[in-house]
């Protein structure tokens, strides 16, 4: 039989079930007769038991499905990730836009479920930082898309897409974006992307800088900024101020659904404002800016071409597509678009040679006008 000091020495091995049979029996025999050691062992054992009990946590039902879904989205171990990384060195632009797109869908679903507006007793939860980046900051864009898609399916967001958005569901990249925002929809972000979509034509760089400065002064956070596109999240009041500033900086050069009607179209709460900046609709500064008038099934055909060529959509709304197009695909893209009977370039013919490329890729913004 063991004595008390031997019990203390063998305690860990006992708890780990690592004792030889003889030692185990000897220990049991001592514990049967020694209440002090028994209490000590029980006390130590209860801690291990508590740690084990802490692990008895219910797993979210869709966890396994989510893993499988993401594996299906990117079945090749390294291909998609490498591609995403090369296109977005050092930033999460695609991810951000996926999130923005998703937020729109989530916002729509939220508003619809709340009969058009958040109730006064339950103010909308707006967590901009979380919505944009926090939950998925360490993921590549594809993974975020996949996650969001799964969540969108779980939430039934697809059913909430407005009828005029039916064609969006036809484009795989769009439904991926829907997924991304659905994850974020847990926070119920009541905003309508594109409800303040303005187009500014300017002639000199200082004007553009003046606008950026005005946004800084107004204190609105810029979700995305490139030479041609600024996306901000603003309250209805801030949106009105932005519009007012723009009309002062670019007199007569601002167009868009909000102009002349105030910004009455904005829902209460925050809204996503897109400000599209162009120098007379010409190419420049490493980007291509096209205006396309779409007829019939042209929208679906356009998305089909983009999908076929494997071009990643950086941003998408009803009226605006932003793509990053590798040089080798640019000519094909232009030829295919020019070959579509339902697509009419609104600002002269599309020519790949007019697109200035930067480091082998071009940022192509396509403004879509339904006819």
């Amino acid at each position: 039989m063991m004595n008390c000091s031997e019990i203390a020495k063998n305690l860990q091995a006992y708890l780990d079930d690592l004792l030889q049979e003889d030692d185990f029996q000897a220990m049991r025999a001592h514990l049967n007769g020694c209440s002090k050691c028994r209490d000590h062992v029980r006390s130590v054992g209860s801690l291990a038991s508590a740690v084990r009990t802490l692990g008895e946590i219910e797993v979210p039902e869709d966890l396994g499905q989510s893993i499988l879904f993401r594996l299906r989205q990117n079945p090749k171990p390294s291909g998609p990730k490498r591609r995403a990384a090369s296109r977005y060195p050092g930033n999460n632009t695609a991810l951000l836009f996926a999130v923005i797109g998703l937020s729109w869908v989530a916002g729509y679903a939220y508003m619809k479920s709340n009969k058009g507006a958040p109730s006064e007793t339950e103010p909308p939860v707006v967590m901009r930082t979380e919505i944009q980046r926090a939950p998925v900051s360490d993921l590549d864009a594809s993974a975020a898309f996949a996650q969001l898609q799964m969540m969108a399916a779980a939430l039934g967001v697809d059913k909430e897409i407005p009828p005029e958005g039916d064609e969006w569901r036809e484009a795989p990249t769009v439904s991926e974006a829907v997924d991304a925002s659905a994850v974020l929809s847990r926070e119920m972000h009541p905003e309508m992307l594109g409800s303040a979509h303005w187009h500014v034509s300017y002639t000199a760089e200082p004007e553009r800088l003046q606008l950026l400065n005005a946004l800084r002064i107004l204190g609105v956070g810029r979700d995305y900024e490139s030479v041609e596109l600024v996306v901000v999240s603003a309250s209805a009041q801030e949106a009105r101020r932005i519009l007012y500033s723009m009309e002062r900086i670019f007199p007569g050069q601002v167009s868009g659904p909000g102009v002349g009607e105030g910004v009455a179209a904005l829902p209460e709460g925050r809204t996503r404002c897109s400000i599209y900046l162009s120098r007379g609709n010409t190419e420049g500064l490493g980007v291509a800016h096209w205006h396309l008038r779409l007829r019939g099934t042209a929208r679906e055909e356009l998305f089909e071409v983009i999908r076929e060529l494997g071009i990643l959509i950086d941003y998408q709304s009803t009226h605006l597509l932003v793509l990053t197009v590798p040089q080798v695909e640019l000519g094909t893209l232009v030829n295919r678009i020019n070959g579509m009977p339902g697509v009419v370039p609104d600002a002269g013919p599309l020519e790949a040679s007019r697109v200035r490329l930067s480091a082998g890729t071009a940022r192509v913004s396509i403004y879509l006008i339904e006819e």
Binding site: Q12, A50, V51, L54, I57, P60, L71, V136, R186
Partner: protein, 175 residues
């Protein structure tokens, strides 16, 4: 808990071929323990734990499919989980332990142990979770942490000792 048996070798072979039923089974075997591990190691909320768990599984399964290894899968998976969890920010929404049906004294102990665990270093927490929560063998813990088995064992014992001392202090304060 043995980290691998013959069944798992067969399962992993099927997973490498992309058999969905095998992948489901593999995920099902480990999702609960990994999710709980992320929650307690990261002291985070369920959303963040969910995301870290999913991305860890995806990365580990892709590694498995790319490397052609016969496992053990947990030795692929858990280092990834640890890496992804290390940077998670603790959340006040970190959930309470499931204590329904337990007598008040045990419920109190669970709460205290939970708080004490959070106060321990990440490494101590990791050792306790691997050994006492998931129930891994010392040789598997040693492989995952890339240390000797002797070192793994002494580290676990040391972490248990810390947990015991701090829990006792906390309970004394309450009483």
């Amino acid at each position: 808990m043995a980290i691998q048996d013959l069944d798992e070798v067969v399962l992993l072979q099927r997973c490498r071929k992309g058999e969905e039923s095998a992948l489901k089974q593999l995920i099902h075997q480990h999702e609960q323990s990994v999710f709980a591990m992320v929650l307690h190691l990261g002291a985070c909320d369920r959303d963040h734990a969910y995301e870290a768990t999913v991305s860890s599984f995806v990365e580990a399964i892709r590694e498995l499919q790319a490397s052609g290894s016969d496992g053990p899968f947990l030795r692929e998976l858990l280092p990834i989980v640890v890496r992804k969890t290390r940077d998670l920010k603790p959340s006040p929404k970190f959930e309470d332990p499931s204590a329904a049906g337990l007598p008040p004294e045990q419920r109190q102990l669970l709460q205290v142990v939970k708080q004490v665990l959070l106060a321990l270093s990440f490494q101590s927490r990791l050792l306790l979770v691997l050994r006492d929560q998931i129930g891994l063998r010392y040789e598997d813990i040693a492989a995952i942490l890339e240390v000797s088995m002797k070192e793994a064992r002494s580290s676990v014992i040391q972490a248990r000792s810390q947990l015991r001392d701090k829990t006792r202090e906390a309970l004394d304060r309450i009483r």
